[in-house]
Amino acid sequence: MKTLNQNLTRREFLRGIGRYSLLGLLGWLGLTLGRGLRRGKGTEYVWQIDPEKCTQCGRCATACVLSPSAVKCVHAYVVCGYCNLCGGYHQPNTKTPDTAAENQLCPTAALRRRFIEEPYYQYDVDEALCIGCAKCVKGCGSFGNGSLFLQVRHDRCANCNECAIAAQCPGEAFARVRRSRPYRLRGGVA
């Protein structure tokens, strides 16, 4: 019995040493990581797309962990030319620039058009319908002012540890941005 007790206490002792050295290791780790933290004090990040790097590949529609994707087309009205024939709204070979189905580019009709006054039209994105396929973005960028572009919508985004779209983005357009400035809008209005 005595030897057993001695054995036990010796084991306990060794375990204690192990425990506190591991605790010290974790403390050191925390401090090391903490040192890095002081430089970027209080900065928290969210994912966002840089529209200048976006290649409109269409993967945002399929790669997001959410379905439909948390990436949506966003319209910067300040950059828009309010055209009648819109490169983002209409098929490239459209003859009569109206809202007929055969002329629409958007597969889900998420892009809406509203007449304002001759000859100007306002275009709006219905985010409930938008799937983030970037077709209109490509059209607007190719033929228009580039006022349509993709952005991660933060009311939908789960802000994953590693963004599934970022892992597949060919243009490396995804980057973390500060939570205080969570969008990268064209036309400079946040």
Partner: protein
């Protein structure tokens, strides 16, 4: 003894189990439906319906066909409805499945809580089997390790070695490892001398000591000797041991001079002649550049010089020709002015013109090309080669950006497009940062990153140099700007610390020696000030003659080239 309570428990438990079973069946049905839905969506995605795609294609050919339009519209509406309907079904299915599973599992848990049956230790293996269990663990471990080894073997066989074949993209000559055949001067030897434009690395920093701070060319104070040169040229003097070398040239002749550094006597003159392939006709160059704007270089055995004509000439220590090459007529609207640099037995020639811009590395013994890279744009800047602690980087500026090469084979380490206009100032390097600038564009501080590239640390656009190169310490960056000022910026963030205007602009690049900056202006006045966070003048020394060349520094001496004369200053 079964009590009523036990009975109720039994009934509840059976009910829970039955409920769980029902939930399970429900989940199964929902999952099958979901699966069918997903498959359906995969097989015929309404938004990609082939009939719709075909109709659209047909419509593109016959845009005036009204019936086609009607068909497309109807089909389109159907497709979109189907798409959203299936999306909704998927969502609903997901919720139903989740709900069913939740209810089922909850009921199972409830049943488990009410269970009275207990594990039966009689089914357990006998205690003696413990040894067999250990053997099993051991065997499993060995099995896993073996499997991993087998996996590694398979991986090794199937490995992707495309990266190894990537060499196709770099010039064929780059693969050959360059082994200099002549003894390369040691870095210490180079540091003792001034072998090329802007000192040992081309970086504008002199390690020499006892540099004079007082002289006056008009009165002769502090001037050891003065030598009138036969011809003019804007290139700078270089120094090795007791020899100074210079180049000069005009339409009539191009010459290299060897000068005794102690006495200021002209030892020899090498005339550039018989360059194979040289057409003899002269390019049009600006008067302010001339035909001898490029500073020569030396490795302690030979002298190398390049001229605005495109002639590259190598002489031995006594001025006898060793080899020469014609590089092609420089297409460079001010005139060729990039200086030479010798790196580990390779003569680096930056030859940036408006067409066929390139950089060459030649075997310094023979003039044979070891490697050659195309360059993106014209420039008038000179190469620098610095050791960043990780590797040697050959850094060249052009009118679009700055590029760093491996001096051994010409492979690009990194490139940053941050210049513009007409690039004449050369880069400077200090403390992990590369500094570049060009007039009408911007100055940039580029930080070398851990991955071997660069990132832009800061940019500055206010006052910029158009001729003089940058000078940097690990703390400060100096630029002699076009508007006759010297600007001092903080190296790490590009914030202006001070700015000092002089009577005249500096064409010569500022040089750092003994922590003092020597900036020679076009009137020949040397402004000496401390390399400090505020402007602290040390002295102002006139030469009595206009000057444009960058001075050369040696232990206790400065050699300054005026428009007509070469001055030896010091004891």
């Amino acid at each position: 003894m079964e009590t009523d309570r036990d009975k109720t428990t039994q009934v509840v438990r059976s009910a829970a189990l039955a409920g769980a079973g029902v939930s399970g069946v429900f989940c199964l049905v929902v999952s099958v439906l979901l699966l069918v839905n997903i498959l359906q969506l995969k097989l015929n995605d309404p938004l990609n319906a082939p009939s719709l795609v075909a109709l659209r294609a047909q419509y593109a050919g016959q845009p005036s066909d009204e019936s086609l339009k009607v068909q497309i519209r109807a089909l389109d509406l159907m497709a979109r409805r189907a798409f959203f309907a299936s999306q909704q079904q998927l969502r609903l299915g997901g919720f139903l499945l989740l709900g069913g599973a939740g209810v089922g599992i909850s009921l199972l848990i409830l049943a488990g809580l009410l269970a009275t049956a207990h594990p039966d230790p009689r089914h357990l293996p006998p205690l003696e089997a413990i040894w067999a269990r250990r053997a099993g663990l051991r065997r499993g471990l060995k099995l896993a390790a073996g499997a991993l080894l087998a996996l590694a073997l398979a991986a090794w066989i199937g490995a992707d070695r495309d990266l190894g074949r990537y060499q196709v993209m770099t010039p064929a000559s780059a693969r050959a490892k360059w082994v200099p055949a002549i003894p390369v001067p040691s870095p210490a030897e180079r540091l003792k001398n001034w072998p090329n434009f802007r000192g040992p690395d081309g970086n504008g920093v002199s390690p020499a000591r006892n540099i004079p701070t007082r002289w006056n060319g008009k009165t002769g104070e502090g001037i050891k000797w003065k030598l009138t040169l036969p011809r003019a040229g804007f290139s700078s003097p270089i120094v090795w041991g007791k020899r100074i070398f210079l180049t000069a040239g005009d339409g009539a002749a191009r010459e290299i001079y060897g000068v005794d550094a102690d006495r200021g006597t002209l030892l020899w003159t090498a005339v550039v002649t018989n360059v194979p392939g040289a057409p003899g006709e002269l390019p049009e160059v600006a008067e302010s550049t001339g035909l001898a704007a490029s500073t020569p270089a030396t490795d302690g055995e030979r002298v190398y010089a390049v001229f605005g004509t495109g002639e590259l000439f190598c002489t031995d220590w006594e001025g006898r020709p060793v080899w020469s090459r014609f590089l092609g007529k420089p297409e460079n609207h001010y005139g060729h002015s990039s200086s030479l640099l010798v790196v580990d037995g390779l003569l680096i020639v930056q030859f940036d013109g408006t067409s066929r811009a390139r950089v060459l590395a030649l075997d310094s013994r023979t003039g044979r090309t070891v490697w050659e890279r195309e360059r993106p744009a014209v420039s008038w800047a000179s190469p620098i080669c610095v050791d960043t602690g990780r590797r040697k980087e050959l850094i060249l500026c052009d009118s679009v950006g700055v590029e760093s090469y491996n001096p051994a084979n010409g492979v690009t380490w990194w490139r940053q497009d941050c210049l513009g206009g007409e690039a004449a100032p050369s880069a400077a390097y200090a403390g992990g940062l590369v500094f570049v600038a060009s007039d009408f564009a911007r100055a940039s501080g580029l930080r070398l990153t851990g991955t071997g590239g660069v990132e832009v640390a800061w940019q500055w656009e206010e006052a910029l140099p158009d001729t003089a190169s940058l000078l940097a310490t690990s703390q400060l960056v100096f630029m002699a700007t076009r508007d006759r000022a010297v600007v001092c910026l903080k190296a790490k963030d590009g914030v202006r610390l001070w700015q000092q205007e002089f009577a005249s602009q500096c064409y010569a690049s500022p040089i750092l020696a003994e922590n003092r900056v020597y900036a020679l202006d076009r009137d020949g006045v040397m402004h000496i000030f401390e390399a400090a966070e505020e402007y602290k003048p040390v002295a102002t020394c006139p030469l009595g003659e206009n000057a444009g060349a960058t001075p050369a520094f040696a232990e206790g001496r400065i050699y300054i080239r005026g428009l007509r004369n070469l001055y030896g200053i010091g004891e």
